[in-house]
């Protein structure tokens, strides 16, 4: 039995939705609540205070930007957002999320490599002093509104 998706209703998160081999559906109530749900709720809260300031009617696109270590999975966020956005001005909004690539930096020669599974030593100078160079930020860049 594998986890198929998370299951929620309104602002209440209920649990994980499991599909068995014979497609019988089983919902484990109060399963692990993914943190993307808290984040989706926070995004909605920020949009609604922006709406109070700017007075737009609805949001059609939300542009987000994240550091490589923001801790946010775009698919989980998309799912969580679909669960919480009903009956809000963002009920039909698309999420567009840009994530910075993860980079490894050699602290000896400054060489940069993409991806977390780089070699143990710098391929350029051989130094073992290589480190993850990634940021943890997550921000709303802009909203497309009508």
């Amino acid at each position: 039995m594998g986890t198929d998706s998370d299951y929620g209703l309104g602002d209440r998160f209920l649990g994980k939705l499991y599909l068995t081999g014979k497609k019988r559906i089983c919902i484990l109530l109060y399963g692990e609540h993914m943190h993307e749900l808290s984040i989706a709720q926070e995004i909605l809260r920020m949009i609604s205070s922006e709406q109070a300031r700017q007075g737009f009617q609805s949001v059609s696109r939300i542009k987000l930007r994240a550091g490589a270590l923001s801790g946010i999975n775009p698919r989980s966020l998309q799912f969580a957002f679909e669960v919480v956005r009903a009956d809000t001005c963002a009920a039909r909004a698309e999420i567009e999320m840009e994530v910075e690539p993860l980079e490894i930096l050699c602290r000896t020669c400054g060489h940069r490599m993409k991806g977390e599974h780089g070699p143990r030593n710098c391929p350029q100078c051989g130094s073992p002093d290589v480190m993850l160079d990634a940021r943890t930020y997550f921000e709303i860049v802009s909203l497309e509104v009508t």
Binding site: H33, H35, S38, G71, M131, E139
Partner: protein, 224 residues
């Protein structure tokens, strides 16, 4: 159709509230630690031994985060350690509002050290500042030496790393070198302690570190 520029930090509200709480804790010269690990790494056992060793030197409170049950807080209370339990009922992490709520009924003037044991999880808790001065990652030898490369953010955002259950090293294929190389790659400022709650190895060094940090804590120095 028009585009509104926002450039606003989504973690901003938690961050603001965390900064406010940190200020309040510092006004009472309280040092706070947020302990993060996967379930079963030995956080509660480490806190039990820490509480027993520090009971004559620091006034300590533990906030325990778990999905369900009061078990961990009860375990600590049985050893005479002050503990408050948060049950998240499904949520995968603690956020700063849960900490503030619990602290509202605590007399902060009677406190030196606040230890927060987060929900056992190496992912979600790493995104939420709980007003801590130090973030501690606990990783045990039975979990394998690949945790730093598999969960880089947990190590990247930590200040301290306790490698626990070192008494079990002979029975595992855990490589200390592999672990430390991975952890340093995620965070080259990380400070390591090797501990065992069965033999108590390393616990004294960790407790000495806590007392030393508390004595030199900026909030104390600035008020003396």
């Amino acid at each position: 159709m028009s585009e509104i520029q926002m450039r606003k930090n989504i973690y901003g509200r938690n961050q603001e509230l965390a900064d406010q709480l940190r200020e309040q804790l510092h006004a009472h010269q309280i040092m706070t630690l947020n302990m993060i690990s996967s379930p079963g790494s030995g956080k509660t056992s480490i806190i039990e031994l820490t509480g027993e060793r520090l009971k004559d030197s620091l006034r300590m409170l533990v906030i325990e985060g778990d999905v369900e049950t009061e078990r961990d807080a009860d375990r600590l209370r049985q050893r005479g350690i002050h503990a408050i339990q948060i049950q998240t009922h499904g949520a995968c992490h603690l956020d700063v509002t849960m900490i503030s709520e619990k602290l509202a009924s605590v007399n902060l003037a009677q406190l030196d050290l606040l230890l927060i044991e987060n929900v056992g999880n190496l992912i979600c808790p790493t995104s939420f500042d709980l007003a801590e001065d130090f973030r501690v990652i606990v990783s045990s030898t039975t979990e394998g030496d690949d945790k730093p490369v598999k969960y880089p953010k947990a190590f990247h955002t930590a200040d301290l790393c306790l490698i626990n259950k070192i008494d079990l090293l002979p029975y595992t294929s855990f490589s200390m070198e592999e672990f430390e190389v991975g952890a340093r790659r995620a965070n080259n400022h990380l400070q390591f302690f090797r501990t065992s709650c069965k033999t108590s190895e390393g616990i004294d060094s960790w407790c000495d570190w806590l007392v030393r940090q508390w004595r030199n804590h900026p909030s104390r120095i600035s008020q003396e």
